[in-house]
């Protein structure tokens, strides 16, 4: 397992490098001079040149690229063009909010979606199966921000139970959790829909195999066949899907953060997009890429845990 883990970690490094290179290129492609964005259209040549020098934009492109990679490794993302503060500071403030939200959304979706998917597979072609399939497809057809709107309307405005805005008092754990319920419910419902569908179809594949029939035939208890024989073999596919959708969920968290006014990465990237703060945009993209690559790495590692054959390939 150790050599497998090391191999996978080493394989993630080139991916991260390609991601960094692409972010560098994409942000350079964006038209509009960053300096004009900071100083407005009415700016003298001289002050623009000074700013360009400060930002390192007057150097050869390859040198800029090298510096960008070097600074990334050092964990230095530069200063925000708008606030002038180090971007790393803003990231440190924003990241926990996004991770917290995504984690609880993922958790909620997993603990509901996987059992539901198994149930639907067992009740195949009954009323419950059709209803469950329709509801999970409906869940996928809701834009995340619309789920949020409906939740706010019901739980905050009609019932007056849960807060709409913000993240709550940082020092008070229960207040923070209270503010987290609706946003994570938004993401959780999406995740549940994805997982229910995928678990159902994977379980159906596995339940049709010969060894399941054998297990039934030798008189094992139904619950044991389902959990030990079927679910264990379906879990590689389920984990794959979990990894893919965790990435998608981070995208949906952008919308959720904006609606619930949570100061996470999503709010930060949209704010810097509207202000044309290129340095912050680059850094946030980098963080997103790093998170998704990390998720892929964890998915790969859990394959090794679930299915020992994979370790030796």
């Amino acid at each position: 397992m150790l050599s497998y883990t090391i191999r996978r970690i080493l394989m993630a490094i080139p991916t991260l490098w390609v991601a960094l290179t692409m972010i560098f290129i994409l942000v350079r492609v964006i038209p509009g001079d960053p300096t004009t964005a900071v100083m407005g259209d009415y700016v003298t040549e001289k002050s623009m040149a000074v700013l360009k020098q400060q930002m390192g934009l007057d150097r050869p492109i390859l040198e800029q690229y090298g510096l960008y990679l070097f600074n990334f490794v050092r964990g230095d993302f530069g200063n925000s063009l708008i606030t002038g503060l180090p971007v790393i500071k803003e990231l440190k403030n924003a990241l926990p909010h996004t991770l917290e939200l995504t984690f609880f959304g993922l958790l909620l979706g997993t603990v509901t979606g996987i059992p539901l998917g198994i149930l639907l597979a067992l009740k195949r072609n009954t009323f419950w199966d059709y209803a469950g399939r329709f509801l999970s497809l409906a869940g996928l057809s809701f834009p995340s921000f619309y789920i949020a709107v409906l939740l706010i309307l019901f739980f905050s405005m009609k019932m007056d139970l849960l807060p709409v805005m913000g993240v709550g008092n940082a020092g008070n754990f229960w207040d923070r959790m209270h503010h987290l319920i609706l946003p994570s419910l938004t993401l959780g419902l999406l995740m549940m829909s994805y997982l229910t569908r995928m678990t159902r179809s994977t379980m159906l594949d596995v339940l049709g195999s010969d060894y399941i029939r054998t297990a039934h035939a030798k008189g094992l208890k139904k619950i044991k066949v389902i959990l030990k024989h079927a679910l264990k073999n379906a879990s590689v596919s389920i984990v794959t899907v979990l990894g893919i959708y965790a990435g998608i969920l981070i995208g949906s968290s952008v919308m959720t953060e904006i609606i619930f006014n949570r100061p996470g990465l999503g709010s930060l990237i949209v704010g810097s997009m509207l202000n044309r703060d290129y340095i912050t945009i680059t850094s946030i993209m980098t963080v997103y890429a790093a998170i998704v690559i990390l998720i892929n790495l964890l998915t790969d590692l859990s394959y090794g845990l679930i299915d020992p054959r994979i370790r030796y390939e």
């Binding site: 692409m22 994409l26 996928l140 057809s141 619309y146 998608i248 949906s252 952008v254 997009m273 892929n296």
Partner: protein
């Protein structure tokens, strides 16, 4: 495709009730949006401040918004933006992805390796984030919206198409075409493309819904089609500010997104079930 297979496909489709409902829903939405100029609707843009925040009534079935504009009319007109963006973006993604997938899947070698590494990395980013970035690069407006979403999704089509091409490439008829001295371009477009097009079209149908959601999300953030042109995402956003006393603006425009997307999703799902017998259960 001979007429027998075609008949069989049509029959399977008709038997799939969910797919039929999806087709009907999508058709109703598309036709209503297309017919918008001919329907007896109030102007979607004109403001009548005396009629602000009227709740749903016979005159205004879905109520009016903060400028006294009819919400039903704005929902129908706003749908035109979503339809155009949804369909054209999918076509761009399909076109771009298919060409990349054809070339990399057929040629293999280092072109394939390099392109797929880039595709993998692009697929790392959430579609919405990529969309935001491309919108910033291209500036606002409908054309940039279509191109931004199309490019963001193209890598997924490239991946799918490459995989399909690599399977088709193994067939004897490709070898035969090559031994007859056909050019690579001719083999790719005349012999391989028709065999992978089915997969690509199914994926396209499955993505229309997701793209409509992406477009709505971008216009919700404020990166969509600029006002006063109505669009669903922005209407939900605008309605959010006065949810307390006029819930209908957000709820009905968001509902329009939901109905449209579920229509396309049911249809796409049905299409996949028909063309992929392995999944037909």
């Amino acid at each position: 495709m001979n007429s027998d297979t075609r008949k069989k496909i049509v029959r399977t489709f008709v038997q799939n009730k969910a797919a039929l409902v999806g087709l009907a829903l999508s058709l109703i939405v598309v036709l209503t949006c297309l017919a918008a100029p001919y329907l007896p609707l109030p102007d979607p843009v004109n403001q009548t401040l005396s009629k602000r925040f009227k709740s749903p009534s016979l005159e205004h079935p879905l109520g009016t918004d903060n400028f006294g504009r009819d919400v039903l009319s704005r929902v129908i007109w706003g749908g035109r933006v979503s339809m155009v963006v949804g369909v054209l973006s999918v076509l761009i993604a399909m076109g771009l992805g298919t060409i990349i997938g054809l070339i990399t899947g057929y040629k293999g070698g280092y072109i394939d390796n390099l392109t797929m590494r880039v595709v993998d990395v692009l697929m790392c980013f959430p579609t919405l984030i990529l969309g935001i970035l491309f919108m910033a690069a291209l500036g606002s407006g409908m054309t940039s919206l279509i191109i931004a979403i199309g490019i963001s999704i193209a890598p997924r089509f490239a991946r799918l198409c490459r995989g399909a091409v690599m399977t088709v490439r193994q067939n004897d008829f490709v070898e035969a075409a090559r031994s007859m001295g056909m050019s690579d371009t001719r083999i790719m477009f005349r012999h391989i493309l028709p065999n992978v097009l089915g997969d690509v079209i199914v994926m396209g149908a499955l993505w229309v819904g997701a793209i409509i959601i992406t477009e709505a999300s971008l216009s919700f953030i404020g990166l969509g089609v600029p006002p006063p042109t109505p669009s669903w995402g922005r209407m939900v956003r605008e309605g959010l500010d006065f949810m307390g006393h006029a819930y209908w603006v957000s709820v009905y425009s968001g509902g329009a997104i939901f109905v449209t997307v579920i229509g396309f999703n049911l249809f796409g799902d049905g299409l996949r079930d028909i063309l992929d017998p392995k999944l037909r259960r």
